[in-house]
Amino acid sequence: MEGNFQISETTNLLRKIKEFTRSIVEDLAEGKSPEISINRFRNYCNDPEADCFCSSDEPKGREILTLRKRSQTYRIDMLLRVLLIVQQLLQENRHGSKRDIYYMHPSAFKAQSVVDRAIADICILFQCSRYNLNVVSTLNPFTLIFLLKNYDRLLVMGWLKFREAGRKFDCLSSLNTAFPIPVLVEEVEDIVSLAEYILVVEKETVFQRLANDMFCKTNRCIVVTGRGYPDVSTRRFLRLLMEKLQLPVHCLVDCDPYGFEILATYRFGSMQMAYDIESLRAPEMKWLGAFPSDSDIYGVPQQCLLPLTEEGKTIKHLYLSLIHCFSETDQFSLADKKRTEAMLLRCYLKREMPQWRLELETMLKRGVKFEIEALSVHSLSFLSEVYIPSKIRSEGSFH
């Protein structure tokens, strides 16, 4: 059944691509300037009154690309290049990663971000997900690289069983073992769980700590980590779990701007993927911690409280810093304070989660940040035995 559905999706998309090509060709043959209309999406804005409709998934305006402007012509050029590749992928029923596509014409594309934008434009144009284009975010699972497990972003453990492309994932049988999840989340099925809640943690180190402390033995839950900033597959998987299992979701991040950004991405989605937001966000996710106020309540020692940076780089995760060697955008050059101030302007915080906004303001006011591990200063298993269970029991997390 699934196969048939996919085939018809592909046929549908191929038909749309042909119609699109045909209309441009017709325009040119008649001597008319072609126009490509692309919807604009955003998931937040900086309107101080929050008097906007960012919470709606509807497009917020349209851009019309023509050959009158150089920047638009360039955008059309990249779009057509990638579309040609996508048509071939769909016709041959193959998959390619975004990176693969970039490497097909690196001198023409010049940067990965250009390919990403073209893919987003195509998705918006044809109203589909990236998955429908047979484009995946990391490498094709059937290549050698797949064997290097480091490339899997998502780790999961706990009271969960599911299948993915026919393979069984039985986390239940080994509650404190991390299971990596491959990228084709669309092929996950038969999800079965006895958990009471889902816990999302920012860092792999915290995940490993919980595994070490056999957290899932004493707590009936599913623990997931995106190992830092969550990629599309992680967010998709979480969304899928939420839809299928209807369980509350708690998020545990460091008490710093980066952690908050991760929390916001899980909950509200990212601007870049705003066009596909429905399948990527976790709307009722609760913020378990760590709050700035927790440093007092749980007695975080002074030396663990680090100042928010004004300027300069902050490299939080070694893994991510390596990723940034390969990426074009230098994403760590903004300072903590500036980041926090920028985040405070987002309309969704004012409109939907004013309590979160309050905590963020406190963080800015105090001017300090701390990592989750700081809570373990009293005892190694403080996190798994005291902090998390008590917070969940007492509903101390904001929702």
Binding site: L14, T21, R22, V25, A29, P34, L67, Y229, I323, F332
Partner: protein, 474 residues
């Protein structure tokens, strides 16, 4: 030879009048110039000049205002006397006159001489003779140049020739004949503008009409010339008689040979000006107009306008040396003779030039695009490749056939390269068209309910600001 020398100027005026008479005859006419060197040994040398034409009879009006000093640079140049014989078709005799240009009192300038009988023969024509103290060599060059320019007007009914006789014996005679290129003769009913076009084309191909045939070292064939023409007429009123400004621009690509012949004026543009069917020095108003044209919107950057001895050259910045541009401007009144000749206004000249440039742009896609459009054109090959790719790589043969027939190709016979090429040309045409038709809806639509600021654009700028971790990880 400096144009301030009055003798050549006088000669050219006389030739010009003769030419007008031929033009108006609307019949095949001949204009002949004879330069005869008088007996040797004279110092300064004496040359007798005879200008004859078989056009309509001459009206004496044109001699009323004709002036030429008898001295120049301290030397005697001529005696101021012209001998004129003229007759109209319907006249019974040939009228003869002596004209003294030095005489100020008008009724004493022209003295009638005994007429010559025609004995019933039906013809018309004029002969003007004079003798001057000048060597023939000094006179031949400006006359030849003048005739060469006259050819640009491409009037089919006039042939011109110049005979230079050094002495009595036949071996000392040189004859120059100026006739249009046989196979390109425009028909008699062609408009002045059409003739100017073909005339300028010929002139370009024959390097200013110095050669008899097209210069094969520099040009491959006539088809590679890009020609644009434009007209501008002022509004007629009682004060100003109607006039017409015609402009022709010819752009040629020289063959990519290592050396072009010395006559090609690589990288420079010559501007030729005609005033009432006569080559004339370019008036100040036209020079100003040339300087004021917005060349940038045609992708050209004007570096300088040089006026050298009556030849006007435009120089451009960053101009490829294998491209040549030639411009001809012709301002004329329908009626002849006009004593009150008017000059065109600067806006009229500009309008004519702009009209010719726009014509070029419309006829040749991707030509004379502004630098902005040319930057956009840099994406054209890529766009065409992707579009052709989308068509040819599709597994749906119906779709392929459909697209190819929309583009005007036979689906079975279409070759990818040809299709790509065609798409490229189409896109370039569209880009050129976009340039000439500015978008009408440049302003944002007014708000329906409230006076908001440009909120959407503000948010776009902010769009990525907060997202500082995302891109590569999505």
């Amino acid at each position: 030879m400096e144009m301030s020398d009055p003798l050549p100027k006088l000669l050219l005026q006389l030739i010009s009048s003769a030419f007008q008479r031929c033009r108006l005859a609307e019949d095949l006419c001949r204009l002949s110039l004879l330069l005869l060197h008088q007996s040797a040994g004279n110092d300064p040398p004496i040359t007798s000049i005879s200008i004859s034409d078989t056009g309509i009879g001459c009206s004496l009006v044109e001699f009323q205002d004709l002036r030429c000093p008898r001295e120049f640079n301290g030397a005697n140049i001529w005696d101021g006397l012209l001998s004129l014989k003229t007759t109209c078709f319907s006249d019974d005799e040939v009228f003869c006159y002596h004209i003294n240009l030095g005489e100020c009192i008008s009724n004493k300038r022209i003295k009638r001489q005994p007429s010559q009988p025609k004995n019933g023969a039906k013809f018309s024509g004029t002969e003007v003779s004079l003798s001057v103290f000048a060597s023939m060599d000094a006179l031949v060059a400006p006359i030849v140049t003048f005739f060469q320019k006259m050819l640009v007007l491409h009037l089919p009914n006039v042939t011109m020739d110049l005979v230079v006789e050094q002495g009595a014996s036949p071996g000392t005679q040189t004859q120059y004949v100026f006739v249009m290129n046989g196979d390109q003769t425009p028909c008699f009913t062609a408009s002045n503008l059409e003739r100017l076009k073909s005339g300028l084309e010929d002139c370009v191909l024959r390097h200013g009409n110095c050669l008899e045939m097209m210069c094969e070292q520099c040009f491959s064939d006539r088809e590679h010339l890009k020609v644009g023409s434009g007209t501008a007429c002022p509004e007629e009123n009682r004060k100003r008689p109607g006039g017409t400004m015609e402009v022709v621009i010819v752009i040629s690509d020289l063959l990519e040979t290592t050396r072009h012949c010395s006559r090609s004026c690589e990288g420079k543009t010559e501007v030729v000006y005609f005033d009432n069917f006569s080559p004339s020095p370019i008036p100040q108003v036209a020079l100003s107009a040339l300087k004021k044209i917005d060349w940038k919107s045609y992708g050209l950057i004007l570096a300088s306008v040089n006026d050298q001895e009556g030849h006007v050259f435009l120089e451009w910045e960053n101009f490829p040396s294998y491209v040549q541009i030639q411009i001809a401007l012709h301002w004329y009144h329908k009626k002849y003779p006009t004593r009150h000749k008017t000059e065109p206004g600067i806006n009229l000249v500009k309008k004519g030039i702009k009209s010719a440039l726009d014509d070029l742009k419309t006829k040749h896609e991707g030509f004379l695009l502004s630098s902005h459009s040319r930057k956009i054109c840099s994406y054209v090959p890529d766009l065409a490749r992707s579009l052709a790719g989308l068509i040819f790589s599709s597994t749906d043969m119906d779709f392929q056939g459909d697209c190819l027939s929309v583009l005007g190709f036979q689906p079975q016979e279409a070759e990818r390269e040809a299709v790509e090429d065609y798409i490229q040309r189409k896109i370039v045409t569209v880009i050129g068209m976009n340039e000439s038709k500015p978008q009408k809806d440049q302003e944002a639509a007014p708000f329906l309910f409230f006076e908001g600021g440009s909120e959407t654009s503000h948010y776009e700028d902010e769009e990525i600001e907060g997202e500082y971790y995302s891109t590569s990880l999505e």
